[in-house]
Structure formats: structure tokens, C-alpha cells
Symmetry: C2
Subunit: 198 residues, 2 copies
């Protein structure tokens, strides 16, 4: 069984990531997504193991301590992280897995799994990103500015990613993500490590 | 202007390289091929600068001496090599360039141009390669055996390539080569070097 590709996708709020990923799923229906662990309480309708793995603070901290998370961060007093075991299980079953996480998390995953493929999804320009954020119509100008600042700060890390995909026409963007998966499956590093393991 | 990708394709005789490349050209009509320099005399119908750059021995040796060839080798008393200048010109004009060369040449290109992308085209198995070589019907059994020996020897170098593509169904093989070009254009190394140069 050939192992799947672990792909980490980061990109600023408003760049069009979910649209691109939805289109990518039409090319790769077998693609799987990782499910985060969190200490925040479940909201109505959220199911454990579907939307999140809901953990107590003690459970979460124990996972961090024993290295059971590929990455983790604190956000408004709650812990969030990516459990390694379900991701590894999917990869070993041959599924490609997509992690949708921000820059600091991506750097942690790369340290934990050097064979992870890091893709940065960028807007064609910051002006265009601002236009998209404003175009939503539901975001306060102050929040737009804060998101732009975050986007500029995070873009400083883009050269630590393996790939930079520009979020332009959605078909083109999804096609490029699809090509990255295909190419990564052809990497000799993937193929020869594999053969030794067989 | 974004620089093109230099892709080196190697693979044993009989693996189906020309068929795969012909199919790839339907996806990427803008793809260009490098033209070799050679000291062997032109055959009837062969044109200088189209089929080969025909050089005298003195001209060829001078090119080798001044590092004007990306790779070179001697074959039955004649020199063959890939002139760097036309390849660089095409790359700078934004064209992707494909070099169809054997293993030793590929290793030379990688030393001369570390950003070259090396793709090894392999048969699904050596048994299948033998079947394809015999299936041609025009190859003497002795020659088939010699080609198989060469194929086994060259496959030892496959792990020095960036990608290993299995030559199976031609549409799949061409699709994988196409994806490798697309993915390589998204490489951050390509994009960020580019930006500094602009």
C-alpha cells in the first residue's frame, strides 16, 4: 500500500481557501481532512469525532505532553491541535490528508513530519485581498484591517513553504493543488522510502 | 517574465518515452525541446539547428572546454552534448524545456543546473520492459538483452532523480509529467528566486 501525501494548506482569511478546496474535492473525492482536537465546549449540533475531538483541558495537555499532536496553539483561552494518530492512520491506508492550518501550526507540522508538503495559498496581491475581504460585505472595516495585517505578517513565512499557489480563478487554483498531489506521489523520495518499507 | 522549468527526462529504451512525450505535447503545446550538438556528420535531410547543431571536432571540444555544454558524452567516436545557451534563452523567455537524455548526462545537468528537475521514466517492471522490447518485433534478441542490462544498470540511478514516473497508460503518464511541470511552477524556490531577480 502506497502511503498518502500529507498536505498542509495555509492562507489568509478571505483568500478563497474553502472555495478552492471544495473545487479540489471534485478532482480528488478520496482526499481526507484532519479533525482538530479542542478544549472548547461543543456548540449545538457539533459532534465529537466529526467536527472536532472535544477534550478536557487535562486530556489536551496530556496529548501535548506526550507529543500526540502534530501542532497545537491556544486561542482565546482554548487549546486547539491536530491529533497525529488519525492522520497517520489515513496516510497508511493510502489516503491523502489535508490540514487547513495557519502559519505557526504549519511550521510545527513540518518539524514533526519533514515529509509533509506545505502549500501557501496567496492572494494575487494585498490590494486584491483587501477587495475580497471588503467584498464580503459582512466584515467591519476594522476587522478587515486586522486581517490584512495578519496576512502581511504571515506572508513573511511563505518562503518556508514548499509551494506557493496564487488564489486566482478557482479552477486554476484547484488544478494546481491537484497537480501538487499528483507530483508529490511521483517524488522519488516518496517512492524509494516506500519500497524499503515494503 | 517568469522563468520556465528545465526538465530532464531519462528512461530506458522501449519504455514508451516518445509516446508519453507526444501525449504531453497535447497538454503543453508551448513545451520546447533542446537540440543537441554533435560532431557526427549530418545525414540526408537533417538540418543544422533543427535536428542537431552540427559541429567540427575542434568546435565541439572548444564548447566542452569553455563549459558551453550542460552535458556531453562520446558515442561511437562522436561527441554529443547539450548547448547551454539556447536552453537558457528559452527558459528566460518563459518556455519550459525538456531534455531527453540518459542517466550520465542527467547527472551532469543536475550539477550544472541544480534547479533542473530530473524525472526518471520507468517501466512497471523489468518483465514488462522485456515484453515491450520484444513486442516491437524489429529488435534482435541479443539487442533486447543488452538493452535490458542497460535498463537495470541505469535504474540504479533512479533515486538520484527528483521524480519517478511509471510508464503505464500513456494518458496517465503524460498527465503525471504535466502535473510535475505545474507543481514545479508553484515551487516557492522558483517563485521567490524569481521575485528577487525582478
Amino acid at each position: 500500500m502506497k502511503k498518502g501525501v500529507l498536505l498542509v494548506l495555509s492562507g489568509p482569511s478571505g483568500v478563497g481557501k474553502s472555495t478552492a478546496v471544495a473545487e479540489l474535492m471534485r478532482h480528488r473525492p478520496q482526499l481526507r481532512f484532519s479533525i482538530s482536537a479542542t478544549t472548547r465546549p461543543a456548540r449545538p449540533g457539533e459532534m465529537d469525532g466529526v467536527h472536532y475531538y472535544f477534550k478536557s483541558r487535562a486530556e489536551f495537555d496530556a496529548m501535548v505532553a506526550r507529543g500526540a499532536l502534530l501542532e497545537h496553539a491556544e486561542y482565546v483561552g482554548n487549546g486547539y491541535g491536530t491529533p497525529a494518530a488519525p492522520v497517520d492512520k489515513l496516510l497508511c491506508e493510502g489516503y491523502d490528508v489535508l490540514l487547513d492550518i495557519e502559519v505557526q501550526g504549519a511550521m510545527q507540522v513540518k518539524r514533526a513530519r519533514p515529509d509533509a508538503v506545505l502549500v501557501f495559498l496567496a492572494a494575487p496581491s494585498f490590494e486584491e485581498l483587501e477587495r475580497r475581504l471588503n467584498g464580503r460585505g459582512d466584515t467591519a472595516p476594522e476587522l478587515v484591517q486586522r486581517r490584512l495585517e495578519t496576512a502581511r505578517r504571515e506572508f513573511q513565512f511563505a518562503d518556508r513553504y514548499d509551494y506557493l499557489v496564487v488564489s486566482d480563478k478557482v479552477e486554476k487554483t484547484a488544478g494546481e493543488l491537484d497537480a501538487i498531489f499528483t507530483a508529490e506521489h511521483c517524488r522519488t523520495s516518496a517512492n524509494f522510502t516506500q519500497r524499503k518499507e515494503e
